[in-house]
Amino acid sequence: MKTLEATKLADLAAALTAAGYRVIAPCQRGDQVHLECYQAGKTLRADVIPVNSAKDALFPRSEVIGRYRFEGNEFETVPVAPQAGKTVLLAVRPCDAAALAPLDAVFNWDYKDEFYNAHRDATTVVALACTAADDQCFCTSVGGSPDSTANADAVLRPADGGKRFILESLTDKGQAIAAAGQAVLTEGQAQADPPAQVAPAFDSAAVTAWAKDGFDSPLWKELSLACMGCGACAYTCPTCHCFDIQDEATRREGVRLRNWDACGFGLFTKHAGGHNPRHDQASRWRQRVMHKFAYFPERFEMLACTGCGRCGRLCGNGMSIREVCSQIEQAAQAGVK
């Protein structure tokens, strides 16, 4: 088997960079860890779940989807092609890899989104099996597991008490990573460490069942009281994919941008005429939960939540999908509509 010394994760990132990959890896930034482009000198951290999710690499927070030039009162549109270089998501968590399924679904279910697919095709996913979890983790409640290899091209398994990783290639793309990183990999034996224990937080089937008839529940108001509508949960969520389209222009030229948006924002659904179907934070929070646990499963037969727990870690008011779903399950058990 191929192994990598734990201290050599950055060396693998460097080798892959030298092989022409854009390496997105968990990099230390101040006292936080972010998934960002590896550069020489950056410290990689495999022991902390990064603040942001891997979706950033496939569905950038801001992406040029149109371009134009002005000439007096007239304009000329300029064709735009996706800028998608060969990329590896190195040491991303199984919950990040799992999120590619809902993203693949929405960007391809009818019209095929050229931008997303260009990034997706150019991307190799090297997952990092989790041997530790924190209080916000709940992958096991939404069909995942800390050592899941779903959507991964290769997986790094911590081994020998964290001293090294075992690199398993699962696809041709994964093989290419092993080949490109050959110089820093060792052929040898290692004992994989046991996966993290992630205690189930709630029964997602019960949440989905309750949500089916739960649209008008008075519970939503209570569940959403702490929500400030800041959108941090959506931006950090690996599956949230709602976007806005905005133009930015000077007098001579401009771009059309696809920017992340969030259903928690008041303007998200507001009609030009003033009517807003989701006119309060309770209805917007309800949409967030219902979309993940009722609407998305109804449409695409999968949950739009992978249990990464980022929404809970980041929320300024301590809200999280995990907490809300637990409360919904309790309500369902108590027969509360």
Binding site: I65, G66, Y68, F70, N73, E74, F75, T77, P79, V80, A81, V106, F107, W109, D110, Y111, K112, D113, E114, F115, N117, F215, D216, H241, C242, F243, D244, I245, Q246, D247, A249, G254, R256, R258, D261, C263, F268, T269, K270, H271, A272, G273, H275, P277, R278, S283, Q287, M290, H291, A294, Y295, F296, E298, R299
Partner: protein, 280 residues
């Protein structure tokens, strides 16, 4: 695969002010391939994204029927930044377009049936494309009735076409304005659309209804139609949710698990009744 968000450029063949702040563009395709693709797909009820680089895009219906193949038309109110920038364009200039998107009115299933069109204010454009589509294929359908109302006489759109429909022997046109909105020479009715529909008591016998208008008009018109005996599955309307992509990606037009941009915008009242009402 190609860039779904790349619009085509349309030339404004003519621009016409319909009513205060409401303007109609007649648009000609500058790209023949886009034009051909458009007409392969276009059915009445579908919509497009009309835009101006630097300002953005707005969603309106295609207000002309697929039986008119030299141009498309759109009619829209000046409401915000994008619509203001679009309305400031003049004949001879260009704007952008993406489409057609969404589903359509199933008019082929209405063959031989009577149709009543009920519209209020700026909601005549989506209905107008259906009206002309039906009138261009007049022999295939039964009795055609149009009820159209606006707040004031000045707010009525397509005044020339109202006169044309009025003059047709095989179309019954009822126009109305809200009380106080009439002028000295107004010859139509005075009253709210629901009341006028109730008074004219159209027969539900083998009849479909197309109802588009402000939420308040729809709210009071639907019970009238139900009382008259119209089945919820025979009443068609359109939902006008905010959209950005128009192609089932951006997530903002969702009502429950539906994408209004893909599953709609045309729905029967029966379908609307099954949606989460608090999201409408």
């Amino acid at each position: 695969m190609s860039n779904l968000y790349q619009p085509t450029v349309m030339r404004i063949a003519s621009a016409r002010d319909e009513a205060p702040e409401i303007r109609t563009f007649r648009l000609e395709f500058t790209d023949d391939q886009y034009k051909q693709d458009f007409y392969k797909k276009y059915r009445v009820g579908m919509f497009g994204l009309y835009g101006l680089p630097g300002a953005g895009e707005s969603t309106f219906c295609v207000a002309s029927p697929p039986t008119r193949t030299d141009y498309i038309e759109c009619t829209f109110r000046r409401t915000g930044r994008v619509t203001a920038a679009l309305q400031d364009r003049e004949a001879g200039q260009t704007i952008t377009f993406r489409g057609p998107y969404g589903n359509s009115f199933p008019i082929d299933q209405w063959k031989g049936r009577n149709i009543i069109f009920i519209a209020g204010g700026i909601a005549l454009p989506p209905v107008r494309s259906v009206i002309w589509n039906v009138l261009d294929r007049r022999s295939e359908f039964g009795k055609v009735t149009i009820v159209y109302g606006a707040r004031t006489v000045a707010d009525l759109v397509y005044k020339d076409e109202l006169a044309q429909w009025e003059a047709m022997d095989d179309v019954e046109l009822i126009t109305t304005v809200d009380p106080g909105g009439e002028t000295a020479d107004w010859k139509g009715k005075i009253g709210f659309v629901p009341t006028v529909v109730k008074d004219s008591a159209p027969s539900p016998e083998d009849c479909v209804a197309v109802v588009c208008g402000p939420p308040i008009m729809i709210k009071f018109t639907l019970p009238v139609l139900t009382d008259l005996g119209f089945a919820a599955g025979d009443i068609f309307t359109t939902l006008e949710n905010r959209m950005k992509c128009g192609i089932g990606k951006c997530g903002r037009c969702n009502v429950g698990s539906l994408y209004v941009c893909k599953d709609g915008p045309v729905f029967t009242v029966e379908q609307v009744g099954k949606m989460p009402q608090g999201d409408l």
